[in-house]
């Protein structure tokens, strides 16, 4: 944090405005009433009258406006009204824009509505629209003019905010660790808490702060033309005319005076716009600083000893020895139920007018006790097959049976539970959350889940089994590739899955680390009876497994059983 000047500038600057906001009336030389002075007596004689606007002098530090109001006092006292208006507009926009954007990221129809909204409301400058609307007689006479104008501003800005939110959510959806979260069986709420919220809120916060600055800019532009959100139409006493009166002291009101004779009294608009500029600068800096801080934190350059999201993590008091895990599985043994059956599975990807057939009429079954390897050239459909087995994707045609249950028809919640209970995924790219320690990464699938063992102890136990006892509190960036993959294996094993689906887990590792990882998988298969389906390009590794399935152009071209296992079913 010390090395992010923008953050510090933003904090100090916004703190300065916060002091003015709350303690403005108590600051030195501030007249809270901001009285008007029709004239002041000149310094030389009582007959020497001066008419406003008064230039900066000992009485008026920053000069006065045309009504003889002290600009210094008016700016200080106007801080509250100005910031209240802009923060209200931004807050309402974000309160509506965030759900809008999030829903748009999930539902295609809402995404289209958002696009149409943006198309409609962002094709004309907002400033011009506001000028148009403010001159329509209905909005001139209505006593609720400020609310109407605010509402219009919100409508114009809503699409932009929604779009930013949608993009940030979609970015998370495309991230590898989000994919890992789904595969780990994290529930929808858990996905929100763990991935979306933690990934998106720094961006939203930064954008919200910068948005306040942009609204100030817009209000300044409108102020030049005498249009203020706090303006009402009134009939003053002793005047035949109806007039627009500005109900609140706001910074842009000093800009309106400039239309006539700027060169005669430049201080009036200059100081008014200076306040807008300063606040914009601080808001922009703070927003940039927050983004920078978040970016550094993501890269592991800023390490929190205990990330605050984990502070409230309560561990189950019900203890169970982790060593029971392997004993339980050994007792259970293999049974005929331990099958994954793929029946006439096809998978197509439509796009750009061409349908790409990735898998065609695949009929195969996998048995838990058999260490199976899937091999084949790149693009042959291996990873797609694994995604289908793990219920990450749905086949275009066919059914997948998992212990006699069709998993292709499962609803989201049951699907998440299925993945959580039955399957552990391991990837080539590890997919570890960069801001979490090794232990927290292992615990990741268990958040928002109630389990009857101690989450923390289970994670430590597994890391110990993986030979990473001394790396429990290390960040992924502080681990080697092999170590990261072992953390990923521990994460996959944390809830004792029945199957492990590994997509080229050794693809990014050197031969020594590959051997360690492969031996671990082999041990899990032999000693704990966990079914393993492994994708690899390494023929030497494939030779050491029980069964090799070769895929080419979306079809199974060979299925070889290497070791004689009489009790293997479904082959």
């Amino acid at each position: 944090m010390r090395k992010i000047p923008s953050l510090w500038i933003g904090i100090i600057g916004c703190g300065f405005f916060a002091i003015i906001f709350f303690f403005g009336p108590y600051l030195p030389k501030v007249d809270p009433e901001v009285p008007t002075h029709p004239y002041v007596v000149g310094p030389k004689s009582n007959l020497d009258y001066m008419m406003p606007p008064f230039p900066p002098n000992s009485q008026f530090i920053l000069g006065s406006d045309k009504q003889g109001r002290d600009i210094y006092s008016a700016l200080i006292m106007g801080t509250r009204s100005t910031l209240e208006i802009v923060i209200s507009v931004s807050l309402i926009t974000f309160l509506l824009g965030i759900p809008f954007g999030v829903v748009a990221a999930h539902w295609r129809i809402v995404k289209k509505i958002l696009h149409a909204w943006n198309y409609l409301f962002s094709r004309i400058p907002v400033f011009l629209c506001m000028v148009f609307l403010s001159t329509i007689p209905f909005f001139v006479f209505t006593p609720n003019r400020p609310f109407w104008l605010m509402g219009y501003l919100v409508i114009f800005e809503l699409g932009k905010v929604g779009e930013v939110v949608r993009k940030s959510v979609e970015l998370i959806q495309k991230s590898t660790y989000y994919e890992a979260g789904i595969l780990a069986g994290t529930k929808r709420f858990g996905l929100w808490r763990r991935y979306y919220w933690s990934g998106c809120y720094p961006q939203w916060l930064a954008y919200f702060i910068q948005h306040i600055g942009s609204i100030l800019f817009l209000l300044g532009q409108l102020g030049l033309f005498g249009i203020f959100l706090s303006q009402v139409f009134v009939h003053p006493e002793m005047s035949p005319k109806f007039e627009f009166q500005n109900n609140a002291l706001v910074w842009p009101m000093f800009l309106f005076d400039v239309i006539i004779d700027f060169d005669a009294f430049p201080w009036v608009p200059l100081y008014g716009s200076l306040f807008i500029t300063l606040s914009m600068f601080f808001f922009v800096s703070l927003g940039e600083g927050i983004l920078e801080y978040h970016l550094r934190k993501q890269r592991g350059l800023i390490v929190q000893r205990r990330p605050f999201l984990f502070r409230s993590q309560k561990f189950s008091t019900k203890q169970q020895s982790a060593s029971n895990f392997s004993v339980l599985l050994e007792e259970k043994g293999n049974s005929i139920k331990d099958l994954i059956v793929l029946e006439d599975i096809s998978k197509d990807y439509p796009g750009d007018g061409v349908i790409t057939k990735v898998l065609e009429s695949i009929n195969i079954s996998f048995e838990k006790g058999v260490f199976t390897t899937i091999i084949g050239p790149s693009g042959s459909g291996k990873s797609t097959l694994l995604s289908l087995i793990g219920a990450l994707d749905k086949p275009t045609k066919g059914n997948i049976y998992f212990e006699r249950e069709i998993i292709t028809n499962l609803k989201n919640r049951r699907l998440a539970n299925f993945r959580f209970e039955k399957i552990g995924f391991i990837f080539q790219q590890f997919h570890l959350l960069p801001t979490l320690t090794a232990m927290e990464n292992v615990m990741c699938p268990l958040f928002t889940r109630k389990v009857d063992y101690s989450k923390k102890e289970r994670a430590i136990e597994l890391l110990d089994e993986m030979g990473l006892k001394d790396k429990v509190h290390a960040l992924p960036s502080q681990l080697s590739g092999g170590q990261q993959q072992r953390v990923a294996i521990a994460r996959a094993l944390v809830h004792r899955p029945e199957w492990i689906l590994a997509d080229e887990p050794t693809g990014n590792l050197d031969s020594e680390s590959s051997k360690i990882v492969f031996d671990l998988l082999k041990k899990l298969n032999k000693e704990n009876g966990i079914g393993i389906i492994l994708i690899t390009h390494d023929p030497n590794l494939a030779k050491q497994t029980d069964r090799i399935v070769e895929i080419k152009d979306g079809k199974i071209v060979s299925d070889t059983l290497q070791t004689c296992k009489e009790d293997i079913v479904g082959l």
Binding site: F132, G213, G220, L224, H235, T277
Partner: protein
């Protein structure tokens, strides 16, 4: 190509819809009424009447038929004549400002990216934050004040107001281009930082490609589609800025003429209507919309040219 044509036609269709909505808003009846309340005070009110709205629309259509164009302004000039005159004035500052802001913005963005050391980051990027935080109106006030002070202390006299001298045009271009330039600088720097992470950049560096070539050929070229996404935002910023710059420099262009035609009132006598120069407001609003449509078409054509799939087909 067919897809591009469909997109262009889609934009045109949407443009027609927006234009019709805008014209219908402008033609809203603007008659007002007054009554005396119990305390004997005048109260002004507005009551929407469909009859007067229909009449306004009918009247405007009659004007269009009669003049076979957009009608006549309150200054008794055909709208087309005024559009032609003011368009020339505004485009002289808008186009150079757009080009200048893109050029300056990209250059500044590259420098922001290049000097990312401890101090470089603070000064170069800090300057971009500062530039982004300076609204166009403050820049104009500041420059005008400084020039006034300078001229009082012997600086040669520079004409800052009006539209007939070169200095007026140059100053307007400068004021108009500064804010968008810093916004583009920020987008450029961000896009380049994203590109830096890509494997092909690492590969290019690993293969010993000179840094300048990596920067200009690999990174900047790949940044262009990302920058292009912000094109319409920049155009909209420029158009908003045009109103402000024209007002504060007394430059007689589309912006000032449209605002004048709208007759913004700050005080009204009881019973006084709130008229606008309907033909002029519709004419100038449509002109601005046409400029935006052109910008959008340009954006779509650039997107088509930059599309890598198209390049692959050509190969």
């Amino acid at each position: 190509m067919l897809r591009l044509v469909i997109r262009l036609l889609g934009s045109l269709l949407l443009w027609c819809c927006i234009s019709i909505i805008l014209v219908l808003i402008i033609l809203f009846p603007r008659d007002t009424g007054t009554y005396r309340d119990d305390s004997n005070r005048d109260v002004m009110y507005y009551q929407f009447k469909w009859e007067s709205y229909k009449e306004n629309i009918r009247n405007y259509l009659d004007v269009v038929k009669k003049y076979k164009g957009l009608g006549k302004t309150d200054r008794d000039q055909p709208v087309e004549t005024e559009l032609k005159y003011y368009f020339k004035k505004s485009i002289i500052i808008l186009l150079p400002a757009l080009l200048l802001s893109i050029f300056m913005g990209i250059c500044k963005g590259i420098l922001d990216y290049k000097f990312r050391g401890k101090f470089g980051r603070f000064f170069w990027r800090g300057a971009t934050w500062l530039g982004q935080s300076v609204p166009d109106f403050f820049l104009i006030f500041l420059v005008q004040t400084l020039l006034f002070i300078g001229m009082r202390h012997g600086l040669p006299r520079i004409d800052m107001y009006g539209d007939d001298k070169l200095s007026n045009v140059l100053l307007a271009i400068f004021f108009l281009s500064m804010y968008p330039a810093f916004v583009i600088a920020r987008y450029t720097c961000q896009a380049m930082e994203e590109e830096e992470e890509q494997d092909y950049i690492k590969t290019a560096r690993a293969k010993g490609v000179p840094e300048r070539a990596v920067l200009m050929r690999h990174m900047l070229r790949n940044c262009l589609p990302k920058l292009h996404q912000h094109f319409m935002v920049i155009v909209l910023t420029l158009l908003s800025g045009m109103f402000v710059v024209e007002l504060l420099t007394s430059y007689h262009g589309i912006g000032t003429r449209l605002i004048t035609a709208m007759h913004i009132k700050y005080s009204i006598m009881p019973g006084e209507p709130l008229p606008i120069d309907t033909s002029a407001v519709i004419g100038f609003s449509l002109l601005i919309l046409v400029m935006l449509l052109m910008a959008q078409w340009l954006e779509q054509i650039i997107a088509y040219i930059l599309n890598p799939k198209r390049r692959r087909i050509r190969l």
